[in-house]
Assembly symmetry: C2
Homo-oligomer: 520 residues x 2
């Protein structure tokens, strides 16, 4: 067990973190009992000791061709939101899998964009599912290069980068993974593990049909030993952040509209009629306001915090490690935020961020939003709301509690339109796949921050719950600009830059597969 003891267990077992925000001592927000101050030490995991010199040499020799494969991938447009190049990209991926020797490759039609399934039978004992997304975000203006699909190498302060839409999110690391397979197969004739590839073209749309993509092979996939999503998780200095899961989410629209209950039902009326006419806008405002404390920070929907799980000892050790290295001020600067809620910091902030459900208004609109004065009583008002769900809080329960709360408070006319909803996913740090990854990171001298999960959301429950597999998303490498201009992936790091370049990324993938095969 890779744990340092900072405090005697007796003392640690008595510790209870007080999480109450100032002035909210009767808050329904949970307090999290803390039983250990032990600190998880990822560096204590033995570095992966295997070497695969022939494969490494092949990677080095073929590096230009490997870069060209990344360029070929990003040059194929595949904007899911605009149905731009999607089917061509699915075909390109399927062809690449066949070229690598995947015996079965299927393009799976769904109600949306197609998925791609691949099966490489190495006759090995262990089997890994590799998740891929082949779609990319739309292009916004203000790129420094003319064409975000040109796939050009650009000189950057960090070194030579591939600058393109999809470079780091997610074509670069995915094709780097396939390059690693290519080098292994070319050198040894096979792979150390059997591989499934399950790829979707709708990740950027919230993966609405990913269940359909994996359905044809679901029972086969459930027999695998783990699932892996290749991802660049290094910062330029070389440090890595490994998140062992994600929160779930419900994302919905709330809408108030005039009708039988009152208010204008067809179009706005004059603002001076407010003494006679109910306001859908004020009703929506009141309904949203009823769901939190006046500071907007504690959810008062009955039961909403009840299913929140207390941090396990393992999670506490991970959090203790995160807290030891926490730099709230730096994170606040990065987000242009002066302070966290209630002035919290350190471990309290980390625990809240990971374990608290959230209630957030993403967007809100009603009536006249132009310049100057226009006096209307709008006939409708709409909000986009997301609530992040830690493990334990199920999306169906969240939706049910929200509806019950609105009804109980007389907001029956407020419509809830679910747009997304899926539960959290988390994998134990003790899972062999995680240990294999951390062992390989330690071989490359990478200092790794390990979090029980991410405060953000992704439908990774499809791996942990639908397929019942440990799931890891990560890998060496650095990129930036996902969903933004100037997206890039670092290919050849400049002198002094700590993040891995393409060759080391690929070599580390070789090591990870071997580490998994060796039963780390």
């Amino acid at each position: 067990m890779t744990v340092s003891r900072l405090l005697p267990c007796l003392l640690a077992s008595l510790l209870v973190l007080s999480m109450h925000a100032a002035g909210a001592s009767d808050s329904p927000r949970p307090t999290y009992a803390w039983s250990t101050d032990e600190v998880y030490d990822a560096a204590a995991i033995p570095a992966y000791a295997g070497t695969h010199e022939a494969v490494y040499a092949r990677i080095d020799a073929d590096l230009d061709a490997h870069v060209a494969h990344l360029q070929r991938w990003v040059r194929q447009r595949s904007i899911s939101a605009q149905d731009d190049g999607i089917r061509d990209m699915a075909g390109l991926l399927a062809d690449d899998l066949r070229a690598l020797g995947f015996a079965e490759v299927e393009v799976v039609d769904t109600p949306g964009h197609p998925g791609v399934l691949g099966w490489y039978d190495a006759g090995a004992e262990r089997t890994l599912v590799v998740y891929m997304m082949y779609d990319v975000q739309p292009i916004e203006p203000n790129w420094r290069i003319d064409d975000p699909f040109a796939g050009e190498l650009v000189e950057h302060e960090l070194g030579t980068v591939l600058m393109a839409r999809g470079a780091t999110n997610q074509k670069g690391p995915q094709r780097a993974f396939l390059n690693a397979l290519d080098a292994m197969i070319a050198t040894t004739g096979t792979l150390p593990v059997n591989l499934y590839v399950v790829a979707e073209g709708e990740e950027e749309l919230g993966s609405p049909n990913f269940g359909d993509v994996i359905a044809p092979w679901r029972e086969r996939l459930r027999q695998a030993d783990g699932a892996f999503f290749p991802m660049n998780i290094q910062t330029p200095d070389g440090k890595a952040s490994l998140n062992l899961g994600v929160k779930g989410i419900v994302y919905f629209e709330m809408e108030a509209k005039g009708g039988e209950w009152g208010g204008p039902s067809k179009a706005e009326v004059h603002g001076s009629l407010k003494a006679l006419v109910d306001s859908p806008t004020l009703r929506l405002v009141q309904a949203i306001a009823s769901m939190t404390t006046p500071d907007g920070n504690t959810i008062v929907i009955p039961g909403y915090y009840d299913a929140v799980t207390a941090p396990t000892a393992e999670q506490q050790r991970l959090v203790n490690a995160l807290a030891r290295d926490a730099d709230d001020a730096a994170m606040q600067r990065a987000f242009a935020v002066s302070r966290w809620i209630g002035g919290m910091e350190g471990r309290e902030a980390i625990v809240r961020n990971l374990f608290d459900p959230t209630f957030n208004v993403d967007g809100l609109w009603s009536g006249y939003t132009g310049e100057g004065v226009k006096t209307i009583l709008p006939h409708m008002a709409t909000a986009k709301v997301d609530s992040r769900l830690p493990p334990g809080l199920e999306p169906d329960d969240a939706y049910r509690m929200i509806r019950s709360h609105l009804d109980a408070n007389g907001f029956n006319e407020i419509e809830i339109r679910p747009m997304s909803g899926y539960p959290a996913a988390s994998t134990s740090v003790e899972a062999p796949l995680v240990q294999a990854l951390l062992g390989v990171f330690n071989k490359y001298g990478v200092q790794t921050r390990v979090s029980p999960w991410l405060a953000g959301s992704a439908p990774f429950y499809q791996f942990t719950r639908t397929l019942g597999l440990p799931f890891v998303f990560g890998g060496l490498g650095h990129g930036s600009g996902a969903h933004a201009p100037d997206e890039y992936m670092l290919i050849h790091p400049a002198e002094g830059v700590g993040a891995a370049g393409l060759a080391d990324i690929e070599k580390s993938y070789v090591d990870i597969l071997h580490a998994l095969a060796d039963g780390f």
Copy 2:
């Protein structure tokens, strides 16, 4: 006194209208004590008995030329919001006044569009101030005619109409008034009253500089006997609605923005950070919600209802008359509203509409308002809010109470940006100018609904308070489509249409000036 007694006074004096909405019995919303059920009867005012046949004949003879004057006015563009034709229209108006024999005519510069002042000295005992607005609303699409500034006569189901931007709001009735002056001066050499014209070119912008327009002549204007705004107030069936004032208003933006108190200060952050980061959007929602009851219909800002005045006996009689003829269902159909607040109707609805202050959200926006799912924690949120102020509630006091309420509830970071604010205006139905108008209406057989004021707002306090004059806005005639496509003014009514045509409108203006001169 023109009052019908429906109930014995003893009974009436005991009546108290219960205004409580269902379930809001501890509401701070006022209850209005009622002391009389007497009904004001505008029809009982003696019809104006004067005749001015020579002038009427002149109007009939010149009618084509008079229509041409209206056409000339609407053909001159004068869109204040777009500074389109404004100075030309001010010049045209000034020239018309000079042509009529106004001895003094001044174009008054302001920080915005210029005003026009005119003085016609008839050597008469009485003096009337005539308010005019020479600006019009911008043009929206979907007019049935090609050019809203062509000033063409169009055949309409009601008869021949002048269809043009400004036809009824407000160039048509104003130029009709000048046509009446023209006929009187041409026939008799003078006018029965002295006249000031005070015209602004920013009415559609909220009259921000009207104080500057009247400032040069303020002391002279204060010596007048009343102020009049020519306006078409007949429905097609010929009935008229005369409103003896307006509510005041405060119109402001409320804004929450991340800053030292918390929240993202520069741009949105990812929605998953809500457990750490305060939400300006939720703070704005909470701040707005704190200002009303959950139904959005009762203002809970301390003191907000305190200055509301109880209906005087005169106002009660007017309201009783309105209530006798009220058709809530028809009004609700017109606004596509199923029911008034709390199911109220009749007199209760009328009193609430006139005497209650309102709190209304005209517009609201924050964050992502496009299609689909985007998860952000917006760094700012903004609302446009208007509150209508009955007589007694001053705009400065309203702003002060709103700010105090927000501060007292911890919403110190919510910014209030005043965009408009002026008090109510009201004139007694017993004022000679009002009696003169109603006497003339009765001469023309017009059934008139008289309201103490309108639930809407206009800066007419400039007449009632700044100049200390009774102020009436009204006149025969019918038009529709102000601020909308297909604006028109009825010129020649079809058979069976009750509303007056241009000739009768002009003749009624002749009568009104004489009635005022005769000391009605």
